[in-house]
């Protein structure tokens, strides 16, 4: 961990700017998400103000509603802020779950080899061949019955499509790390297979997981929005979701009412861009084939006076 932070600190050039830009935008969204109740003037499903007066439908941006209101009488600014919370909840849940399942599976599969490995690789490759959006739709559809259409269901349908990515990367690095001398050395000191996996392989095969994690997070935002756009994601009364708002706003956008579509769309694009920048920046930082390190100048102190040089110099 200490190593990782030092590596990130020591990046230079483009990688540093990519990482920095991505992190700053992501942090802004994280602040939105954490402090949504205080930043947003209204609740995400609020259609009347404190005195009970209903909001204007498709109200233009102005004093009362900073970014206007949409066709469901919702305040767009509040929806966008609350939407950040939804997006980050789903992203965090799906990435953590798919790492927690994919990484151990890949480790075990790569280490054990044999038929366990073959079956797992076959299943994962089979999942991989299906277009991921289609798969997410199928899972969302199936989970709608069991879990309703909330955050958990949306996250779980994303988990299913991300597990194979972690599985593949971890499994392949494990297969090559398994042959390393230090693994044989671990066997020679009497380590059990579980100990070898935990203590000797895990630390050496998870190096690329942070990169996939951030790139997946970016992808998850897009997929979640797509599900919402198709009406299979989170319903508007459960949480605010950008993709759903975008789909509602499409018809009005054709009629010249641009504000309900612009802001959720912009939020989606910004968050995806930010997370992708973080991912690519991390990749350039952590991948030894790509990374360039910051060089620091070494300052020499003035060491010698002229009289000393003459004494020291051998003649």
């Amino acid at each position: 961990m200490r190593n990782l932070l030092r590596q990130i600190w020591n990046t230079k050039g483009l990688a540093r700017w990519i990482l920095l830009t991505g992190t700053i935008i992501t942090v802004v969204f994280v602040v939105f998400a954490l402090f949504a109740p205080w930043i947003a003037p209204f609740d995400f499903n609020q259609t009347r103000d404190a005195s009970g007066v209903k909001f204007e439908k498709l109200g233009s941006p102005g004093a009362g509603h900073l970014l206007g209101t949409n066709d469901q009488f919702f305040d767009i600014f509040s929806r966008v802020i609350w939407g950040a919370r939804t997006a980050l909840e789903v992203v965090l849940l799906s990435v953590i779950l798919s790492v927690a399942i994919g990484v151990p599976l890949g480790l075990v599969s790569g280490f054990l080899g044999g038929w366990v490995d073959r079956v797992l690789v076959f299943v994962m490759d089979a999942i991989y061949t299906v277009p991921y959006l289609l798969l997410a739709i199928i899972f969302a559809f199936m989970l709608n019955d069991k879990l309703g259409s909330g955050i958990v269901a949306a996250a779980l349908s994303l988990v299913a499509i991300y597990i194979p990515q972690y599985f593949r990367v971890v499994r392949n690095t494990t297969v090559s790390a398994r042959e390393a001398t230090y693994v044989e050395a671990a066997r020679a000191i009497g380590a059990k297979p579980t100990t070898i996996m935990r203590k000797y392989l895990f630390g050496n095969v998870v190096q690329s997981v942070p990169v996939i994690g951030t790139l997946n997070a970016a992808d998850a935002v897009g997929t979640l929005a797509a599900l919402g756009f198709l009406g299979l994601g989170i319903q508007p009364n459960e949480a605010s979701e950008w993709g759903y708002d975008l789909s509602r706003a499409l018809d009005d956008a054709q009629a010249g009412v641009w504000w309900p579509a612009l802001w959720p769309g912009l939020a989606i694009i910004l968050l995806i861009t930010a997370l992708t920048l973080v991912g690519e920046g991390l990749n350039e930082t952590l991948n030894p084939a790509l990374r360039r390190r910051r060089l620091r100048k070494v300052q020499f102190t003035d060491r010698v006076r002229t009289s000393d040089t003459e004494e020291v110099a051998p003649r």
Binding site: Y182, A185, A188, A191, N204
Partner: protein, 442 residues
């Protein structure tokens, strides 16, 4: 070349007197050990269920490891010395034969039949030092964790006691001041320091036997002697028994009490170090000794080093497996079809102008690749092929292959060369050593 210091060439009985009397003289008994590896054929041959080829990495090795000695396993790469060393610890399963470990405290145990937990328990007594110190340490563990991990695994020590023992082991191998090394990662250390850490990890369990697989071959010349001296000191202090695997006879001479020369999975000569060096018997041993570089620019001795490379272990030569490269080969070495192919090809490299005509007469040589004591060659008429073979023979009548030919019979359009069949020679007593060569019969 320095020889082993006098004080260190003990016979094992002089030290470690604290152990119970009446224990077995040998620590390890290896009896007719075989380690075979299945080769995975191509996709097609697997699909068709063809017989997978087998590499006999170790093939019928019997050797005793005496308590307190240093036994050297010497051979070229591919001779099976590393596999034999790993089999001693049970790191590769034995395909045949027996390995018996005569433990000082726990009685006799059969290494070759152990599995799982029992085998892991055995590692408290038998330990290994690896060739490449840069790869033998987990890059994500500190030296303290790595060296102490054997104790954690076998639940021998924890907490303060663990730290004490790690510090003591590091102190022993000369990594001091210990505090400077405890929190370092392997990438922070030099090759010699890493190897010291690997040795510390191996001795922390207080083992009886240490298998050292080329422990100094990846190190700088300047630290080799230091590491070897360290290992000798540890042997003295802890009453260790070493198996020293190397391709470097010079270091073996310095380090070993007995030396076993290995070739293609077999021991071809084994005996006391002095005798092996003073009076090598097996032609392969002689060749290895000649290959030691002499630090004397004026002595340009002609070296008749073994010809060619070590053969394919999946299909070793018939008879004595060294015979195709041997400079002292005789009729009974087990000549065969592949040797004839090599001879013909060698003939054509010398006489390039005759190649086209003679190749047409001899025809395809691929049939000779299957090892057999009868070889069919030629497609240009029995008489002419026979005459050609006679001509080739007349060029170099001393070629030992011809002495192994029992007869040349006409067969169809060509001839069938029949070789004298021979078994692989067994280890036999010759003076104070054992040697497996037809030149030293019973």
């Amino acid at each position: 070349m320095p020889t082993k210091p006098e004080t260190l060439s003990n016979d094992g009985s002089g030290q470690g007197g604290g152990h119970g009397a009446g224990r077995h003289e040998n620590v390890l008994d290896v009896d007719d050990l075989a380690v075979h590896f299945q080769l995975q054929g191509g996709a097609l041959s697997r699909l068709l269920g063809l017989q997978a080829r087998v590499v006999k990495a170790v093939d019928g090795v019997s050797v005793q490891l005496r308590r307190g000695e240093v036994l050297g396993l010497v051979g070229e790469s591919g001779s099976g010395k590393t596999t034999l060393g790993r089999a001693l610890l049970g790191l590769v399963p034995a395909s045949g034969g027996r390995i018996t470990y005569h433990s000082a405290s726990k009685g006799d145990r059969r290494v070759s039949e152990m599995r799982g937990a029992e085998l892991r328990q055995l590692r408290t007594d038998l330990q290994m030092v690896f060739q490449d110190p840069h790869a033998a340490l987990n890059p994500s563990m500190t030296i303290e964790e790595a060296v102490g991990h054997p104790l954690v695994i076998h639940k021998i020590a924890s907490g303060r006691a663990l730290r004490m023992q790690v510090a003591e082991a590091l102190e022993r191998v000369g990594l001091s001041p210990v505090e400077r090394f405890l929190s370092k990662y392997p990438s922070d250390l030099s090759g010699g320091q890493k190897q010291r850490a690997v040795i510390a990890r191996a001795i922390i369990l207080n083992p009886e036997v240490l298998v050292a697989d080329e422990p100094v071959s990846m190190l700088d010349m300047s630290v080799r002697a230091k590491i070897l001296q360290l290992m000798l000191d540890l042997k003295q202090e802890m009453g260790l028994t070493y198996v020293y695997i190397t391709h470097d006879l010079a270091s073996a001479k310095y380090f070993c009490d007995r030396i076993a020369i290995m070739y293609l999975g077999r021991i071809v000569e084994i005996g006391p170090t002095e005798e092996i060096f003073a009076n090598p018997r097996h032609p392969y041993t002689k060749a290895l000794l000649k290959a030691i570089p002499e630090p004397d620019p004026d002595r340009m001795v002609p070296r008749d080093l073994p010809r060619g490379e070590i053969p394919d272990a999946a299909e070793p030569p018939l008879g004595c497996s060294f015979h195709p490269r041997c400079s002292e080969a005789v009729a009974g070495c087990g000549w065969e079809s592949r040797d004839l192919r090599a001879l013909l090809e060698e003939h054509w490299t010398r006489k390039l102008e005759a190649y086209d005509d003679e190749k047409a007469l001899i025809g395809d040589l691929d049939g000779l690749d299957r090892p057999s004591t009868t070889a069919k060659v030629g497609k240009g008429g029995a008489g002419e092929v026979r005459a050609l073979l006679d001509r080739i023979r007349a060029e170099n009548p001393d070629e030992p292959l011809w002495s192994g030919v029992r007869g040349i019979e006409p067969a169809g359009n060509g001839v069938e060369v029949q070789f004298q069949p021979a078994d692989s020679p067994q280890l036999r007593r010759a003076g104070s050593v054992d040697v497996a060569c037809v030149l030293y019969p019973e």
